[in-house]
Every structure is written in structure tokens, then in C-alpha cells.
Symmetry: D2
Subunit: 460 residues, 4 copies
């Protein structure tokens, strides 16, 4: 999928560290969040705990991690534990109050949370807590979890007991990090729709991250994934693990297709390899007669390389992305000839002119960007444009994190094949067949949720 | 060459438009500058002229074009001609005063200049002008040119006459755009070291740009290059051309190797094709026994694809670039294990681990970034790392635009082969042989300056 | 007291409006907060309610009201009720989270609070609420009040019932405004240490404010003060009043001496007149043999005019304040001759040179600024400097809002008269005698708290 | 004159220092500019020279001195000479390019200028210089002076010679500071319409300032005024003086009436005393039957005190100014009842209600603010309002620095007495009689320009 729809599937990113010494933990989180920024650009935050002083400080705000944290701010946040969060949010919820980590003070001390996921029974939980006197200040998920934990903690002996009681009450999917005055806890829901992994620093500090690319960034070693339904507790006495639900794994297949960074490994499978494999399978079952293969930047590039390998058609870069387009970019006005796509992308005419082109992308949501891209390639002289999508048709709404409101916005629902072809202006259009999706990430230790393609939802 | 040394060779970018109607010319320049931003990120500016009102307005400041121009500012700058500039500057000269376009008011009216180049006899020209009473307010080249033009204009009948008299006095190399109250003029010095091309908009407006990618961005058609030693004058009566010096073409070979965007075509040669070809030649004359070929992002990628094709070794992405690293990034502190390179790049371990890797880059200047990159690949499990550079050894200083102060900073000057290998920690290291450089851009209509490799300088 | 210690006694300011129509209520609050800004410069906020849509929006941040609200922000906040707050805060509590109004969502809807005061049993209340499951996110008073109200509201039929139950549990002093989905409520504690008044707009809208100067600013008429121990409830059915505690009035005497704006009238007494009267009494009981009377800007000026009138010595301006000193002012470095005071104040040498000067100020806390001011007057040529303070000696800590941590920082506690004189370098130093303090604000309908002078605290 | 028209007469401020040692000269200028900020709020700048290194650095921008200079910036500007400037500018000229000090590089080195004044023959000078090849980049006066000086310097032996030749060519009025590589020079035009004084620091450094209040701020001693037509040259050999024109003194009377700070002494006369005296004379010749005298803040206050003394009517503060109104203040919208004046000023009703008030202001330009102020006092209950203006009627345009475009905007030109009274809504309105203006500043060593009252212009 191309630049425009990028926001459709993005997700939050979490990171946590339990260090042996009071040190620059905030700085480590800062660098890790840079590596997770692709999972959320709306807000960034870090909470730092100090076990000896029983002190918690945090800072969070709207913006990228580089905008939210100054050198002075980072230097002022010292401690021996820390969690961080980058957030993607639908527009209405994109308020400073909803930024994470979310921290509270209750009768047993403090708790900070970094949460990546979706709670399906949020209203019920909220209403039930309010009936017991709870008072809410935000519209975010994390506040409800915090209340739930505090509520359970009230009647049991430890924060992990409280979490073990709270998790089964949550219908939904999440990976989260919880920092109490003396502990760092990682929890992944039984379906494990969102990834979460664990690593160690050279000095023995334990870290958790949404994706392994964050471990690499800070020089940590990937030890293993937190398993669906597992809770990992780190204290000064070491690391322990317990079950908080029976695993029924259903990792979001879009993590491999689009969301995660290609240098991450999730549940045993390389994201790069999964994308390469998707391209190969696509070429095998949905070949095209063409001169070159190009990828839609940046998300279609790896699959395009795979497609080229399998098909024997040479891979070329046909479109390059302008890296300077940012938040301050002023959109071309309606009626101006200049199309947004021609500024955001550059076509390498030398490769494209007179050629029959296979354009590989990861997915199509509304189809408008694809139409512009195909048109742009034709302007650059492409003789034919064959669109190949490295995932099955997007037919069903996602309830576990995507921002798309309803099925009637999905191009694959609105159009039949002929209309679709006409709309995007391509010579042919094919998707990776749903029946062959299982061949994509064969090294994965977990099963997948493919509800957006199949309509089979793993959680009611 | 990798991220760190990126600044070593960057150049300015210029763009100009002569429109048939008073309109959003500033907006067109704005989008074109986005496409030229890779040529300079220190300052951005636009000057707009109005032929009927004889009015000139301009705005320029330190920063990227997206930071310097607000929607209100753009909307306030209306006219039927405009020029724009993005600037790369060595640190000491990076002041707001030196930003371009540079505009003056003299006894014949106003003149605005957008200048990309280097004046070798700057001090002489300045001193000579000062002796005739000139007063300077900046340390920039453009101010000297403006004075020179104003000085000559004083004793001849037109701005183009003045330019024709001024250009021969300038020892150096430049492409520049000059906007007078009624004319837009493009000039390229006889050596034509910096590129400059010309195009037309669908409505007939004439445009000039440092690179053709800017034409594509705004929907203009590339008509031809401005030739070395040519001056093109656009007035309401049409386009005329005249010679301002005998052409002795010497296009900077680094435009193809590193500076220009791969979707640009310069003097008849596709930059993408030139890089691909450099990779192929490198593979032919300096092969490596390896499992995969990867490119140093982003400047080594195209050559890596060419190397892979010629050698038959599969191309893989081994390193990806973190696109969120920007001006606000806080560098890791000395002594922190976290290396800057591990945050800026991510290694795709799946591709690299246990493999013998060919790492292709466009050039090596100081060598420090290459050392970090090789080390980073080893950390990611590479069995062997064979560095291949898609240009000859960088041995001589460039007097025509680069920022490197002296030869003693160049790794190829400081180290013999063995030391160099040890310094960067690679298993082998080879460059594109100087004698085969001529095979790189064979479609180019002009000859090249390769002084940085050969020591043969085209201008004394 | 002079500029430096200004922060010692400042307080928050609150404002509320219940309008008959959905309109620019936020804008009205905005202007009113400008008039109350002297009561708090650390943070500013406005919450707007819409009775028909049952909607609550708010915005608050660190900074002056002019910095926190943009025209766009103001325009986006429409409704028929609103409350606002400006906050003074000790440094450690000066966080964005503690800014007010404070808004929550609980099982009966929403509640917003603007609170000016101090809760003495804050820890007890917090701990008691936490034991019942409450979860806190800030360190502010307002959050505790909100929880208390939500807690009581849970078991009674209306928000005013809940307030009536909550108020007696609070040991402390406060004036506060509470906005529920359909009501605006003003409450002043039984001691009434902080002021609160009520007015009407020409269109019949009801308004409340910490000081009457805010009513004047928006064109409202001062109707009366909210009485100590009174709760005023405004609904669409009109205004009703009820008791929430037996009045035992003890208005903070520092409101008249220093905190309030001289154009305000508090509990029937003009602040200007009270200060003028303090100057007269001071002159009567502590005369000085001098040539001119000057006031320390700005807080000593009115008392200086009163002193001049009573004594017959002419009033002159001897010191003027630089109005451009703001947050960005860079303090002179230690060792630099330039004293901060000489930049912040200017001495009118013409008035001072060779003269015996009476310098009137409202109070002395640490004494350091007074020492600098006396020294500065001597530099300007004053023959003698006789310091007269328009309030009694500051001997006891204030528990009801001041920022001074302990008695041992008070100059009057640390020094005997001789030491004090030497420290500030004056020729004589006198205070308004405590036994005559009662003559200062004789028109006031309420008694005063003078604990900081007398040590007699009205609340245990 | 009240807040609204404040800008009508403001002027620039200049400051310079020649130090014995390389030190924090920029910091000294910074503090001095704070004291001169009332003379110009549009832009601020400092240029620092280093005599041994022959180095000149400067920084200037739109904004108050506190906004333009950061601690880092100040610390980076070290040297043994410096000049500074604060600028008031009419809107169209308020560009960053026109900010001062203005610095150039010419064949004899560098020159920096800080200029306060108006050049009447600017166009002629500019045109003449352009004919000799000069090239201009700004629309400011300072650039023309710089060119003129550079031009003359070309044919004579020293910068002071060049100045001596340049000054007679300038028709106009100015006080200016010129810094060359080794000298600091102060020049005041023969009419001396703008003030300029000279002082010494305790360590012997020589300083110049537009007003003596800047000397006091930095701990310098006022030595004397630079005389009309005098040039003072400071070098390492000491201070010398020479004539650059025959003195025909005509100090702007508005400096005493309105522009200067009351703690300044100009040409031997205390500004405070001049204003006090104006109030006394006004009371003597234009008495009023009233209960209290109040001043329009802040410019009418001193005259009001003088009026009160002479008349025996008690002085009271009736209006206080809101010190938080700044650049970010959002103006009330048309049709809103809230008048701008009620937010900017507060009326002390206690003093005003039922009283017959004399309202003293320094001048009336358009009359609109005065009308609002009178209305505001009536709203606050004033029984009668008698307006007394402490200067004669403003009948003629000023060509020497004021921003008023034409006579037809002056209330005294547009209205006869009856209309004027009706327009402002006062019970009576009187000015200081022109024939008694001479009694106002009797200690002044120089004569005055009173062209705005008398129509007698000292310079053609």
C-alpha cells in the first residue's frame, strides 16, 4: 500500500527496560522508540522509575519522539527502569491526555502502563468501574486497564496477581508493559495479535519491545518472544513467567505484510523473508508478462524483489520516494495540475518508458492512491502496468486496531474486478490467492489472524 | 557513501519559471524545490516577480522548504515569474544573510539571482569591485555576481549584455538563474560542471531546473539541457539563446555517482542507468566471491543492483534506513554502547547472518562511517564483508563545490590498502578502476570532470 | 514587597459564566482571565459546557492566558457555560497535569472544577479515597475534590447535595467553581479566606470571579460577594443559595495588602482604599522626617500616596519599573557589576538626589530585594532612606496558600531590628503596628485572617 | 496619549560601548537595550567588534531584545566594542532586512551602524549613489548612510574624515553610532532633534546611549550629552571630539512630553521634572473645578501629579493598566460589548464614583482612545470628566520620525472645539497653551523643535 493509505493499519509501539543500575534508561528508551516510530507518529512518551527512591517521573506529548524529548529533558529522567510508547491514533482521540505511558497513583503505590492493542468491551469495563466509583479523565484504553489493575490489586497481594485477575476480564487484544515501583511486567493477550519480544543488554538488563528492530538499535540480543497468554515479570530477583490465559495464537498477518519493519523477526519469522516469500508466491500463482518488476515505495519493495526472483523478470526501481515530504508539506490545491503523487514520488523514466511494468504493492484499501500511481507510471511512459498485490483482497473490517470505519470504504467491497481495473487504470490486477496465504510465513511459531481477508475473526 | 559523510559533496539546487499569466508561480517553485531538496538542506528561498507591476517580493530563511514557507506566505507571493533556491553550505557560511535567491536594487531596477556553483577568483572580483566603491553585506558568491552584473549593466544596454560581459570575468563553475523586471535568464558556465535543464509546462510556461526530477514533480516536460557556455533568455517575446563562452564540457562525475536523484536525466544520461552501469563495471573488474549483494542506503543501492546483475549473486536488502532520524535527533554520548549507526540503520539479520556479503557504496571519504557499517554487519552475523566502491579512489580535493578542506582528511590519501582494510574491518576492499570510469555514463552528451579521482582539473 | 519576592504570596484566580445562550463564553472567560492573571502566571485553562448537547470541552496548559489560547482554539470552544482558571504554583507542582480547570467523567456524567485554595487534610482525604479504590493521576488539590464530589454524588441525588456533603470533610480554605452538565456552582469555604464575587452581564448571564476587576473587564455588574460558607447554584431555573457551613469569616489580609488588584472591591472594601489607608496609618504611627515619599513599584505605590497625604511630605515617583522584563530575560551573572535591580527598576535621580527619601513597600519577606533597592536609591544620590512597611512584621508561616517553606527564611524572624537595618542598609525601618491593623479595611463586611503577623490561625 | 496611539511617536534607541578589554560587551549592550526598549519594539540587534582579531559578528531579528537573544547567542558574541539597536518601524518597513545594526564590508574594512533618525533627502542620496554603481538590498536609512560613508572613505584617510564629509550631505536628523575595526564614533546632527549621551563605566569603558536611563541600568555614569553637530571618536588612544556642522539645536519636545523614560535626563533637563512642570503649568493656565486628578496610564501620570500639586486637588490613581496585555492578545470582535479599553485598563471605582475627575494625558492624536477612556470613566461612575492635555494642540505633521501620514488624521485639525468635546464625551477639554510651552523644560541646555504644535520646522 502506498503513502496515502499508510495510516490505515498503523499500530502503537512499546518498549521497556529493567536495568541493574540507575542510569540513562530514558536514553535507551529514546533510541528504541526511534526504531519503533513507524508504529505510531502521533504521540511519544517515556516513564522512568527509580526502585531505591520509589520515584516515578514521566514525560509525554503529541509529536515524534525527536520532537517530544530535548537533551535536557532526557538528562533529567534518571532511574533503573523505564517504559516508552509511540502512538498511532484516530484523529478524534489524538489528544495530549491520551498519550502514553499512562501513570497513576493508587493505594498500593504507582503504576505506569504502555499499551498496544484494542479493548472490545471497553464500554462495559468502564461502566462497571464507574459504578464502583471510578472517575475517568481520558478517553483512552490505558486508563481503563490501570483502573482495572488498581481495582484488583486492592484485593490481592501483588501487582502480578492483580494483572492475572484483570487480563481475563479484557475482551480484546494487546501487548502491554506495566511498571510498578519494583517490577517491570510484560503481558501479551492469549490471541497474541500484536507482537512482543524480549531481549538482554550486554550488561544483563532485560528489555521488551514490540519489534526486534528496537533491540538491535540499542545493542540488545533478542532472547525470545513473549508468548500469547504469557506474563513475564522482572524483579531484582530475576525473570519469572506465568500464564494469564490459554494461548490461541492469531498474530495479525498485517504485521508481516505491512506494519512491522523488514529487519524485525516476529514469533520466529523474519518480516523480510515473509514479504519476499509473498512476492514469490504471488509470481507463482498470478504471473504477469512484463519487462520489469517495480515495488510501490516503500511497502511493496521487498515483495517486488521476491516477485522478480520467482518470475525471472528483472527488478528495477521505478518509483522513488521524496524523503523531505513531512508534516509541513502544503498539499496541492484542487484544480492544480500538479498531483500530490508526482511530488511525493519520482518516476525513473529511464526504467519505465516503453516497458511493460509489474507494479507490486502490499495491499489496496480505498484504491485512490493506486489509481494515481498507475497514472503517474503511464505519464512516465510505461507501456503496460500490471498491478500485483502481495496479500489477498481486503474485504472485512478489522476490529483489532485499524482505523477504517466500515466495509463500504474498501475498494474490494465496492467494486467488481472490471470496475476496479477501470478505476485504477491498470492493464491487469491480481491479488495473492487467499488459499495460498498459508505459504507466506511458514517459519512462524504462531498461527495468524487473517480476518480482514477471510472474515474469520479469532475473537468474537 | 553513507549517511555521515553525506554532506561532503552536496550542492545547491535552482529552479525558475516564466509564466504567461500572473498566478501561483511561487507554489510551483515550492513543489519544484521539494524535488531538489536533496541538493541542499540548509536554506530555502523563493523570489517572485510581477512584470506588469514591476514588483519583486522574496522570502528566504534557514531551513527546509517545508519549514520556511507557510501557506499564508506562499499565497501572498503572486506574480508571473519566479526563481527558487535550496542551499547546502559549509557551517561557517550557513547564515540567514547568505540564503538565496539574492536580490538587489540598482540604478536600472532590480535583479534576483539563484546561483549553484563556485567562484574561484571570488576574492579578486570582490576586491576589484570594492576598489570601485562596492559595499558587501554577505560572504556569499551570489552577492558578488549581482554586483558584477549591476556594474556591467551600468555601461551596456541590457541585462543579458551585462551578463555576457560578466560571465567571462568569472573563473569558476556555475549554473544560475537571473530574474530582471521583465526577463528570466539561465546561464551555465563553459565547463558546465553543474547541471541545468529546461522544460515547458502544459500551458507553455518555460521552466529551468538543476535536475529534471523537478520538472517531473510539477508536470513539466524536459525539453533539453542548457548547454555549457550557453545563456537562455526568456521574455514575453519568446526564448532566445546566445553563447557566453566556448563550451569545454566537464560535468561533475559525482552528479551521477552521488549528488543527483536517480530519477533525473542529466545531459542525456539517466542517473539511474549510470549508477547501475557503475555497479556492473565494478562487478566485472572487481568481482567478489559472496552469497548476497547489498547496498549502503541510500546511495549505494542502485550500484548494488547492477553489481548483483552482472555477478549473478542475488541482491538483497541488508540495511534499511530509519526515516525518522532528523534534526532533533540527540546523538548517543561517547562511551555509550549504542552506536549512532545502529539507530540510523537496521540490519536485516535474516539476510545477513552466516552469509558472505558484498557491500556496495558510492564512495568513501573519511572512512569512519564505512568502518561502523562493516562492524554493524558483522554484529548482525555476516560471515564475510567485501566492500566494493562504485567509483575510483577519492584522492584529490574538489575546488568546485565540495566541503572537504584538504587532502589529508581523505582515507585513500592517508592509508595504504592494508591500513585501509584494517581500519574499516572488511575482508576485501576494491574500487571501480579509474581506467574504466569512462564506461559508466556512455550516453552522456558531455565529457566529465573526474579531478577528484584523477587530479586533472578542467579549470586551472 | 518588590519584584523578586512577588511570587511569595500569589494565588490562583477563578472565573465562571452561566449564559442564557450558546455563545462566545470561552472568549468572555478569556478576557476575564486576563484581568485575573496577576493571581497566577504558571498555567491557564478554560472548560466550556454545552447544556443542550451535554458536551464538555477544555483546553489548558502551562503559560499565560495569551500564550495558551489562540484565536482558532477560542473559536472552537462554544457553549453556554464556562469556567476558567489561572494558576500560581510552587515549582515542583508546576506541571501541565496540574493545570486547571480539572475535568472528570464519572458514573453520573462530567464535572469540571476551578479551585483556588489549600486543603490542609489533603493526604488524609487522598488516602481515604484510595482505600476505597480511587486512582490519582496528578498531585493537585482539584483532583481530590473531584473524587470526593464523585464519591458523594454516588450516594445522593444531585451535584449540590454531593458538594454539601463533601465540603465539611475538607479542612482548609478555598473558593471554587464547579460545572456539571446542567449547573454552575460557586462555593466559598466557611472561613472565606479567598475572595469570590458574583455579577451579572447586561444580557442577564450570571458570572463569578475571584476579584471584581474581572467583572469590570467584561462589562459585568458586581452584584455581591459569595459569603463565607455559602454555595450558589445557577441553573436554567435561576439562582439559589444554600449554606454549606457556618460562616466564621477570616479573609486573608494579604489580599488587601498585596495580592488583589487595586481596582477590585472585596467583601465591601476597596482594595485601593485599604492600601491608601494603610499608608495613612503608617504615617500616623511611624512618621519619618524626609523630603519625599516614594513607593516600591508596583505594590508599594498606593500606600506611599496615603503616607504622603497623611504626612504632608510630597509624593514623587522615585523608581520606575521596566515593563519589558519577561520570561526570556537573561539574569546578570554573579560577579557582573550590573545588578538585576538596576535593569528591572530605573531611579529618577532628579527626584532622589540629595533628598531624604521615605520608601514605602507593602511587606518584606527575605529582605534581599529591599537591600538591593535601598542600595540602588543610594547610588542614585538619596541622602537618607527611611523604609516604611505598610503591614506588620511577617513572623509566621502561612498555611493557606503561600509558597514560603518555613519561618527561618523570614527576615523578621532571623534578624533583630539592628541586624535588619544593617542588612538592608536603610537609615530607619518601621512597620505598621499590629495593634493598628484593624484600622486598615474598616468598610470590610468580614473579619480578617492575620496569622502571618499575629500567629493566630483561624483554621487549626 | 494613551495605549492605542502609543506607536505614533516612538523612535529607535541606540547604544554603544568601547571597552578596555575583550569581554561580555554583548551582554552589557543587551541590558542597555532592555532599558531602551520603550523606544522601539519591532526589532533588536547587537554587533560586536574585536579590535585585535579585526573581527565583527552581529545578530539581529524582528522582536524584543529578550526574544532575539538567547544565552547561547550572547555568550558567543565576545569582543571589546559593541553597538546595539532597538527599532520602531512603520508596518511596511518592518522587515528583518531593515533591522539594525547595519554592517558592511568595503574596501577599507567593515563598518557597523546604529541609526536613530530620519533622512529627508533619502531618495536623492540613494539615486546619486546608484548612479555611481551602488547596489541596495534593503529599504532602510542605515544602508544609505553606510554607502555614503564607504563612498567618502574611498577618497579620504579615515572613517571620521569620511563621516565629516558625509554628514553635511544628509538633510535630516539623526543620532548614530558607527563602529569601524578600531573605533567607535558617535554623531549627532546639527539640529540634535534626537538625544544622545555619553558615559563611563567604573572600569573606564566609554558608552553612548539614546537616553541616560540605559547608562543607569548598566551602572555607568552620565558624563555629558553629545552636542548637536558634534562627532565623538573613541579609539585606544582616548576620546576626541570634532564639529561636523554648526549647532542649531532643536531637540524634539516630544522626547520630554512622551517618548523618553521619566528617569532619563536629556540635554541637562530631567524628563520627570519636565512632565511634572507641564502638569503644573497646565493647572495654572487651564484649571478645572474637580475632586480628584488622575493620569492616563502610563504617559499622563507624572503630569497629573504636577497638576494635582499646583491645583491642590488630590492626586488619585483612577485607571490602572493590565500589564499582561501583550502581542498574543486577541482583540475583542466588533459588536462584542467588551471594549478593548476595559480589558487593557481597570478603573478604580472607589476613587472615581460620584467624583468630578480631571483626566490628564500627554497628548491627543486621533482622539478615539481618549473617547473610550472618558466613556470608561463614566461607566465607573465619574460625575464629570475634565480632560487636560499636558502639551499644545497637535496640528502639524512631523517629518522627523513620527508615523502619522497626514494632517487630516489629527483630531485637532479635523474638529473644532465643540465637535472635539462631543467626540470624546468630556465635560471640558483644554491643552497646555502654546505660548507657555517655553516654561516646561527650562533647565534644558538646548532649544526645542515644536513644529507639530507651531508648524515652525527647524529643517526645511
Amino acid at each position: 500500500m502506498c503513502i496515502e493509505q499508510r495510516k490505515a493499519h498503523e499500530e502503537c509501539g512499546v518498549f521497556g527496560i529493567f536495568s541493574n543500575e540507575k542510569s540513562d534508561t530514558a536514553r535507551t528508551v529514546y533510541y528504541a522508540l526511534y526504531a519503533l516510530q513507524h508504529r505510531g507518529q502521533e504521540s511519544s512518551g517515556i516513564a522512568v522509575g527509580d526502585r531505591s527512591e520509589k520515584r516515578l517521573v514521566y514525560h509525554k506529548d503529541l509529536g515524534l519522539v525527536g520532537d517530544v524529548f530535548s537533551p535536557e529533558r532526557l538528562a533529567s529522567m534518571r532511574g533503573d527502569m523505564a517504559i516508552g510508547h509511540v502512538r498511532y491514533a484516530s484523529k478524534e482521540q489524538n489528544t495530549r491526555e491520551n498519550a502514553q505511558p499512562f501513570s497513576i497513583n493508587y493505594n498500593k503505590g504507582t503504576v505506569s502502563l504502555a499499551f498496544n492493542g484494542t479493548i472490545l468491551n471497553l464500554d462495559e469495563l468502564k461502566s462497571s468501574l464507574q459504578k464502583q466509583g471510578a472517575v475517568f479523565q481520558t478517553t483512552g484504553d490505558a486508563e481503563v486497564i490501570a483502573h482495572l489493575v488498581a481495582h484488583e490489586r486492592f484485593r490481592c497481594g501483588s501487582i502480578e496477581e492483580a494483572l492475572a485477575l484483570a487480563v481475563p476480564q479484557i475482551k480484546g487484544t494487546f501487548s502491554m508493559l506495566v511498571m510498578s515501583p519494583m517490577k517491570l511486567i510484560a503481558v501479551r493477550d492469549p490471541a497474541g495479535i500484536r507482537p512482543l519480544c524480549m531481549g538482554t543488554m550486554p550488561n544483563g538488563s532485560v528489555v521488551f519491545a514490540s519489534e526486534s528492530c528496537a533491540l538491535q538499535a540499542i545493542g540488545a540480543k533478542l532472547e525470545r518472544d513473549v508468548e500469547p497468554g504469557e506474563m513475564v515479570v522482572v524483579t531484582e530477583d530475576g525473570v519469572t513467567s506465568r500464564r494469564v490465559g490459554e494461548a490461541r495464537p492469531a498474530l495479525c498477518i498485517f504485521e508481516h505484510i505491512y506494519i512491522a519493519r523488514p529487519d524485525s523477526v516476529i514469533d520466529g519469522e523474519s518480516v523480510y523473508e515473509a514479504r519476499l516469500q509473498a512476492g514469490r508466491i504471488l509470481a507463482k500463482y498470478r504471473p504477469a508478462d512484463a519487462d520489469i518488476v517495480i515495488g510501490a515505495p516503500d511497502s511493496g519493495v521487498v515483495a517486488a524483489i521476491g516477485f522478480a526472483e520467482e518470475s525471472g523478470i528483472p527488478y528495477r526501481e521505478g518509483l522513488i520516494r521524496n524523503r523531505y515530504i513531512g508534516r509541513t508539506f502544503i498539499q496541492p490545491q484542487q484544480g492544480q495540475r500538479t498531483q500530490s503523487v508526482s511530488i511525493k514520488l519520482g518516476a525513473i523514466e529511464h526504467n519505465v518508458r516503453g516497458r511493460r511494468v509489474v507494479l507490486v504493492d502490499d495491499s489496496i484499501v480505498r484504491g485512490t492512491t493506486m489509481a494515481q500511481t498507475v497514472n503517474f507510471l503511464r505519464d512516465a511512459g510505461a507501456a503496460e502496468v500490471h498491478v500485483r498485490i502481495a496479500s489477498p483482497e481486503f474485504l472485512w473490517q478489522c476490529f483489532y486496531g485499524t482505523d477504517i470505519p466500515s466495509r463500504d470504504q474498501l475498494a474490494s467491497v465496492r467494486f467488481d474486478k472490471e470496475q476496479f481495473l477501470m478505476m485504477i487504470g491498470a492493464d491487469s490486477l491480481e491479488w495473492l490467492p487467499l488459499e495460498h496465504l498459508g505459504e507466506v510465513a511458514k517459519n512462524s511459531k504462531v498461527s495468524f489472524c487473517d480476518a480482514c481477508f477471510s472474515g474469520k475473526y479469532p475473537i468474537e
